[in-house]
């Protein structure tokens, strides 16, 4: 292994300057990107007085962990968290199951209108949410689902176009021989799906699960439109309410923000590889 000085001398001057500049740029940008998040966390631990000091202090004198306790008493934060968990869990499970079923039908089975249906599914993906916002609300109010959690997770059980697309592309890459072999062995179609294909799709399933989780967790407009009872709110809506009611109490609003972001950070920490893989898969599949 060459020594440091050998390495240093073997690089041209140009290369060294390039690498140095690169590091500088990355560090500067890295700090810029991190500043907001650091500031949120730091502010969440300040006292009210410390928040409004000019010039700002970056670190609280003494971390006020009790802020985190206080935010639970001011508004039904526990309820918000439970609601969010319920909606997200139901929605994500629904999405994964339905997209597995539909994309299987669209890729592994052969039937007359397969391509037409797929085109239709793709078409709905291109429709901006805003066009269906109003009619969906009307539909849901007619069946009495307004001010319930149903509109937030039930539609996922019928499939989401993006996830179906992703899974289908992925499934198309799997060899047909496996299906045929299973059929020869006497497996029914449903069995083929669940016991043969699904285990092969784990990376696609993980990607769909992650994106669906994020999408349900972060959903703001849905709860905004459909929920009017305070006790039914989800976290995003809860943050908004906090902002509205306690907007001078920055430290509290920041504490709520940190709480809401925590599960996602943990998920990312654990499953980083899958996140990146999922983004790449959707990006490449989206071509």
């Amino acid at each position: 292994m060459e020594s440091v000085s050998q390495w240093w001398q073997s690089r041209s001057l140009r290369d060294r300057i390039f690498r140095f500049c690169l590091h500088v740029i990355l560090i500067v940008l890295g700090i810029t990107f991190t500043v907001p998040m650091f500031w949120v966390f730091s502010t969440s631990l300040k006292t009210l007085g410390e928040v409004f000091i000019v010039p700002i202090e970056w670190l609280p004198r003494e971390p006020q962990w009790r802020n985190y306790v206080e935010v639970f008493t001011l508004l039904p934060l526990t309820k918000f968290i439970m609601n969010t968990a319920k909606v997200t869990a139901l929605g994500t499970v629904g999405t994964v199951l339905s997209s597995l079923l539909v994309s299987f039908g669209l890729s592994r089975l052969r039937w007359r209108w397969r391509e037409a249906v797929f085109a239709l599914v793709l078409g709905t993906m291109m429709l901006p949410g805003v066009v269906t916002m109003v009619p969906l609300f009307v539909m849901f109010s007619k069946v009495g689902w307004v001010n319930t959690h149903y509109p937030l997770w039930a539609p996922s059980w019928f499939g989401g176009a993006f996830y179906i697309f992703l899974m289908r592309q992925f499934m198309l890459g799997l060899p047909y021989e496996i299906d045929e072999a299973a059929r020869i062995d006497g497996a029914s179609t449903l069995r083929i799906l669940f016991q043969v294909i699904t285990p092969m799709c784990t990376s696609a399933i993980t990607a769909v699960a992650i994106f669906s989780f994020l999408s349900h967790y972060n959903n703001f407009m849905g709860p905004l439109l459909y929920l009017s009872d305070n006790s039914k709110f989800t976290l995003p809506l809860g943050i908004y309410v906090y902002q509205g009611r306690f907007d001078e109490y920055w430290h509290l609003v920041m504490a709520v923000s940190v709480i809401s972001v925590l599960p996602i950070f943990v998920l990312f920490w654990v499953g980083q590889r899958y996140f990146v893989q999922g983004v790449q898969m959707s990006g490449i599949a989206g071509r």
Partner: protein
């Protein structure tokens, strides 16, 4: 979808049964000043934010493509902001942009720049949103990174043997090979930007003086505050058509500059 089309021909305020008004809603499109305002706001935001986002994401991806230490850390730092709930981001940036106590003005103050009103100044509000949007370039960056890593090294090596320098290699090999991905990010970005809602709803409510009244926000306002469902539906179809138009336009023009390996 069909119901939405039907709504376009009605005037309806949820509270009472719909009234058929035919194509009157279309005529209103031309009369209501806020329609043009909201479309202008949305377009301004989209067509400035997207090129900037693409540039930043691409530069970051290029940087991360080099063999440097700490790539994983940087990748995490740049990607994390994009998965935070939009509401949380909005609330945080609301305070960052605060005129007196915000982080941004404090930092600018160090360089001697006077405090700017950002979200409370009609001229600075949209640039503020654009600035904020640059924070979430994570996913685009990762997609670009994947594309960059897919550029075949044999080609680069062959070019180097033929005497190409770094700039030439970039222009003639790297860029064309990643052009389909650039197109993808651009199309997805524009579709997404045209529908900006949460941030403007939480942070400014459309102000100051309607400077951040984006179209989706306006539609929400029309439908759920003014209960003017028919007109809201009309406007949403207009937005849809505009998005479709731009998407098709981009796909058409892409033949000129996008290079596909399969031909």
């Amino acid at each position: 979808m069909l119901f939405s089309l039907y709504l376009v021909t009605q005037e309806w305020s949820i509270l009472s049964p719909p009234e058929f008004v035919g194509l009157q809603n279309f005529a209103r499109l031309a009369k209501e000043e806020l329609v043009v305002v909201s479309l202008w706001n949305t377009s301004f935001y989209t067509f400035i934010a997207i090129p900037l986002q693409l540039a930043v994401a691409f530069v970051l991806a290029l940087a991360l493509n080099q063999n440097i230490k700490g790539r994983g850390v940087y990748r995490t730092i740049f990607y994390l902001p994009s998965i935070t709930p939009a509401v949380a981001s909005a609330v945080v940036w609301l305070q960052i942009f605060n005129t007196d106590y915000g982080v941004l003005n404090n930092l600018l103050g160090i360089f001697g720049i006077p405090a700017l009103k950002w979200l409370w100044d009609p001229r600075l509000a949209k640039p503020a949103f654009i600035l904020m949007s640059l924070w979430s370039v994570g996913p685009s960056m990762i997609i670009f990174l994947a594309a960059l890593q897919n550029v075949p090294t044999e080609m680069l090596e062959a070019a180097e043997i033929d005497g190409a320098n770094a700039v030439e290699k970039f222009r003639h090999i790297t860029l064309p090979m990643v052009s389909p991905v650039v197109l993808f990010n651009m199309i997805m970005g524009i579709i997404g930007s045209f529908q900006v809602f949460t941030a403007s709803f939480v942070m400014t409510g459309g102000g100051p003086q309607n400077a951040t009244l984006f179209t989706v926000l306006y539609i929400y306002h029309l439908g759920f505050r003014m209960f003017d469902m028919g007109f809201a539906a009309t406007l949403s179809w207009v937005l849809f058509l505009i998005i479709m138009l731009f998407t098709l336009l981009q796909v058409r023009l892409s033949d000129r500059w996008v290079y596909y390996e399969m031909g």
